[in-house]
């Protein structure tokens, strides 16, 4: 993976020193909160409901074992012994003291990490397919381009004060695991007629209060044109984007107000101006970065141990069938470590768990780790012969849950248990759903199903693209949960449909149970997934199951 150059190192250290002084000046009273707030946000420090929260960037979700160990050290030394992995492939610490933040940032810098641009109206952490560099279906590893975008966007003088925050996601595979259609810019690697790799450029996707699936402004952009083209999009947005109304400031609104044709014309015109100015330097830099992402030296060894365990051990088999994904090297597998033990907080890992994961990555995983936007940890390169040992170690640490892609593999934002913006809790709803379906022993029978929960309209929990989405609201001083169905965050992205009136906190789990009962009743065969059944049947049977009293009223 990419290691910091002298330039990166000097830049991050300088920022740590600068922010440390700013913290000292806030504490001694020379800076007011109004003055300090934008400075702390630029460095990822929020003030939440019960404490400060520090959001640390994990660029394109890639970590090495030493970085993971340092996160464990920070969790133990400055927090309450755990960290929370987020839907933007970041990690959040929920309990740091203001006076400890300089030491935390310094500890991060020691391993080439930081919290810069994890807040504010700038280009945020570039997210990527969490199977990048390993997936069997991938055209190319998208992370060199993601790293190029990171370097370009970090402290970019023109784009530090955009109309609003700006999120870029990238995937190198046709199966979109990075939700590219719900980002300000989504980049999907595709091949042209000549077989050359390039990008489909999608602009103006986003969730939040106005959820929208992005529009394709370029069907095929040659790889070499990527950086000037992205800069052109940002440049047009920076000019046209609304600064008068926070709720209309994202590029998705700019796109709809300007029209796809006109904005595409402006992007292309700006691109023509910008492209010659790059003078090939971006490509030189990209070539250097690509060298850092060379694939590991894969081992050539028998996979008999895997086959034997798969046949003999039902617990291993259940885990292998849900938590493994196809690797480009057929002796290898991609392991998803579930951070969704039934009843646990989605995305949380204790310091001990982080250390164990780091050790496993070192011993069995070519020292590579990824964080997924679905709040799990990935060992991207594990030889199949090592899988039984990896599984045994995970089970011992409480990390062996065989539920990836199933009903208990829920995305949940921190919600009103932590977040100052939240209007209702998300975490306990996720915990209760997972616990309930574990009790019912139904989740493997139900099959692939994505539940996504947000505790407010800002949709950090991606509820709009959940097969079942849950949005927590404050209705007249009481928590109320609105359900959407049929959302999809993949290459066939769709925003889910609202079912009707919301449900109280103690009614939401039974409501989800009724939806699932309706699915099990109406599906044509166990092979028909929830999403497929929903697409065939539409809202009606689910609505009838959700609101039985209403049906009776209509009949009367």
């Amino acid at each position: 993976m990419y290691n910091y150059s002298e330039f990166d190192e000097a830049f991050v250290r300088a920022r740590v020193a600068q922010f440390s002084h700013q913290v000292a000046r806030r504490i001694d009273g020379s800076l007011s909160e109004d003055e300090f707030r934008p400075l702390r946000l630029m460095n990822g420090l929020y003030l939440q409901l019960h404490a400060y929260m520090l959001r640390v960037a994990i660029p394109y979700g890639t970590l090495n074992p030493n970085q993971m160990r340092q996160l464990a050290h920070i969790a133990e030394t400055y927090d309450k012994g755990y960290g929370h992995f987020t839907t933007r492939q970041n990690i959040q610490f929920n309990w740091p003291k203001l006076s400890d933040v300089p030491a935390i940032l310094s500890a991060l810098a020691d391993v080439g990490m930081h919290a810069i641009q994890t807040s504010g109206n700038c280009v945020r952490n570039v997210t990527a397919d969490h199977f990048a560099g390993a997936a069997a279906d991938e055209i190319e590893d998208p992370r060199p381009v993601a790293e190029l975008l990171r370097q370009w966007s970090t402290d970019h003088p023109e784009f530090q004060f955009l109309p609003r925050k700006f999120k870029i996601a990238i995937t190198g595979a046709p199966n979109d695991r990075a939700v590219t259609r719900a980002h300000d810019i989504g980049l999907r690697m595709v091949r042209n007629a000549a077989g050359e790799p390039g990008f489909e450029v999608i602009v103006g996707g986003g969730l939040g209060r106005t959820p929208m699936v992005g529009m394709t402004v370029r069907e095929f952009l040659p790889k070499a044109d990527l950086l000037p083209y992205v800069e052109a999009v940002l440049s047009v947005y920076n000019t046209l984007g609304r600064r008068d109304n926070k709720y209309k400031a994202r590029i998705k609104i700019t796109l709809h107000e300007t029209g796809k044709e006109e904005i595409t014309r402006q992007i292309e015109a700006r691109f023509e101006e910008l492209r010659p100015l790059f003078g090939g330097n971006d490509q030189k830099l990209l070539a250097e970065i690509e060298a850092a992402f060379a694939p590991p030296a894969f081992r050539n060894a028998p996979v008999d141990a895997y086959d034997a365990f798969h046949k003999a051990d039902p617990v291993f088999r259940a885990w292998a069938d849900t938590n493994l994904a196809a690797h480009r090297n057929d002796q290898y597998a991609i392991v998803t470590i579930s951070l969704k033990a039934h009843g646990a907080t989605p995305g949380d890992a204790s310091a001990d768990q982080m250390r164990l994961i780091a050790d496993l990555a070192e011993k069995y995983g070519h020292s590579q780790l990824r964080i997924s936007h679905e709040q799990n940890v990935i060992l991207p390169h594990v030889h199949k012969g090592d899988l039984p040992a990896v599984h045994a170690a995970l089970v011992q640490a409480g990390l062996g849950t065989a539920n990836v892609g199933l009903i208990s593999d829920i995305i949940a934002c921190p919600g009103m248990d932590y977040c100052a913006l939240a209007t209702a809790r998300s975490i306990p709803v996720a915990q209760q759903i997972a616990t309930r379906f574990d009790e019912l022993k139904l989740e493997h029978d139900i099959g692939p199903l994505k539940i996504k929960i947000s505790g407010c309209i800002n949709a950090c929990g991606h509820h709009h693209v959940g097969h079942i989405g849950i949005l927590g609201l404050d209705r007249a001083g009481v928590e109320n949960y609105q359900i959407t169905l049929g959302g999809d965050g993949s290459e066939t992205a769709v925003i889910g449909e609202k079912t009707g009136p919301g449900f109280a906190y103690d009614e939401i789990v039974p409501a989800i149970e009724r939806i699932i009962a309706a699915y099990l009743e109406h599906r044509e065969a166990p092979e028909e997934t929830f999403l497929e059944a929903y697409r065939r049947l539409g809202l009606a049977p689910f609505k009838a199951a959700l609101y039985p009293a209403e049906g009776k009223r209509d009949a009367a």
Partner: protein
């Protein structure tokens, strides 16, 4: 105009970020029931200004709805109830630190 409902002044402590409440004698308490219950709108505004002026001690002072209880003021909205306790997924924050 809507009738004024009782309030307390609340904020977060500058260093720890912990939730604090302004007491009648001008201290910042970690306990909701020690807060001064403000029945009068003009007085509430004055107390809020006092809270906001303590910029090196607390952050983000605001008025939160409350009602009188047997041991002192109690929160009325669930958000404020959560702020008196801490998160529901772990025994962290006030629910363990104050006992």
């Amino acid at each position: 105009m809507a009738r004024f409902t009782p309030k307390v002044v609340t904020a977060n402590a500058l260093i720890e970020g912990d939730v604090v409440y302004l007491t009648a004698d001008g201290r910042w308490s970690r306990h909701h029931h020690e807060a001064e219950l403000l029945d009068d709108e003009a007085h509430a505004q004055l107390r809020l200004l006092h809270g906001m002026s303590q910029r090196n001690v607390v952050v983000g002072a605001y008025l939160a709805d409350a009602k009188a209880g047997p041991n002192g003021p109690e929160p009325t909205h669930f958000r404020e109830v959560f702020r008196t306790r801490g998160p529901s997924n772990y025994a962290h924050g006030k629910q363990v630190e104050l006992n």
